[in-house]
């Protein structure tokens, strides 16, 4: 399992890709593997405000429902509409087609609090141990 080095991560297994003032958010490969077959993702609509470390949505696998936590604060500019019909994209391509929302970052200083790929991998290794 290789976590893309250009992303930032949370201990709750979300990632964010920052391009300019936009952050794209999803869940990690480790998270999708732990959840198993994903069958429903509930996301905020464009225009909604999300706050760092607060719940922004829900994800349901065949087995269970889990909450999604925002790695950063900002305004949602787009939600991945493809996940409505193909939630399995989160399993198949968690860092690509399985992205969830794009947000306009309101506080870039928050990024410094997130984990690097190496730091995140150390955490999941500890969880698996």
């Amino acid at each position: 399992m290789v976590s893309p080095p250009e992303l930032k991560y949370t201990t709750e297994h979300e990632w964010v890709r920052v391009e300019g003032d936009t952050g794209t958010i999803g869940i990690t490969d480790y998270a999708q593997d732990q959840l198993g077959d994903i069958v429903f993702v509930e996301l905020p609509a464009a225009g909604a405000a999300i706050s760092s470390a607060q719940k922004f949505g829900e994800i349901e696998s065949v087995k269970a429902v889990s909450e999604l936590f925002a790695p950063v604060s900002g305004e949602v500019t787009e939600a991945n509409s493809g996940l409505a019909d193909s939630p399995e994209a989160v399993n198949d391509d968690p860092y690509g087609d399985g992205w969830m929302i794009k947000v306009r970052l309101s506080d870039v200083a928050e990024l410094a609090k997130l984990l690097s790929a190496d730091e995140y991998e150390a955490i999941i290794e500890a969880e698996d141990a």
Partner: protein, 377 residues
Amino acid sequence: MSPETETLLHTPLHAEHSALGARLVPFAGWEMSVQYAGIVEEHRVVREASGMFDVSHMGRFEVRGPEAGRFLRYLCTWDVASLEPGAGHYAAACREDGGILDDVYVFRLEDERWLIVVNAANAPKMLGWMASHVARFDARLVDRHRSTAMIAVQGPDALARLDAVVGAQFVRSLKPRRCGETDWNGQVLFASRTGYTGEDGLELVIDGRGGPALWRALLDADVRPCGLGARDTLRLEAALLLYGNDIDEATNPFEVGLDWVVTLDDGADFLGREALRRMAERGVGRQLVCLRALGRGIMRGGHAIRDGGLDVGVVTSGGFSPTLGVSIGLGVLPPALGEVGARLEVDVRGKPLPVEVVPRPFYKRPKKSKETNGQPA
């Protein structure tokens, strides 16, 4: 790891699951496989080909003696005493007040030798219950729970795969609900044409020492390993009840559509008989229904069913149906609200999910031509 993993029981097939990379979880005191390749994939394999489940955690007790049949009739709501050797039937075991202690399968192996299969979570309770009643009968209980392995082989291809592993003559002699024993690798192999998936297939019981060899022989015959996750989605589509979710001691058989396993007219005395007779006369205040989501969102056990803003019932089991591609669930409702076609809402953590009451079950396997059923009767 959590401290309770230290005390979890292992089935005779535990090492096989570890070797296959299964994801293991605690279940009813046992460490069991929840999945191998993934729940949806395993679900599809069972619907389209064949899969197998380690169900060794299910309680198995032999009952022997001249009054074994009379004892089991006293224990069960259905007239199991009418079974002939080689036959089996599903039943409930009730308390005197009609509450369901467990749902069970009873097989008559020989005139004076029977097998009762109970739920894993209820096995200690049922052993105690049976032990407290068996003394009145010329019969004795033999606990086979820990000494044997049990494997359910299910799917449209299951019998063909079993032909190769167990022997076609034996496999094809077993009609639905029938059971028998044969020799496999020098050991006694019990098989019944039963299951918990909505598909055809057999459930096998063998001495624990022979379990791994049987499991591997089935793997070699291209039967895919499946975990308890798929077992749950499969049974939900088939609208088969899960004890602890859909039924418990506060439930009576009539409320959950189990009228067909209550025999009141055979003159036999059995535990719960008087209470059940009164309930049958009085009718039920709630009934089990099948719910199908009309929107996205997943109903789960425990969610309220609402009608016009009022709580009218509860989802007892819910989840995602891989076959139908939507959420389905079992729930209890007042009979007047549970007619097929009725539209209601399920409260999914504060969000309303529109649902419709649909006929039971959600999934029924396609009828197959006669030749797949083997030898002429």
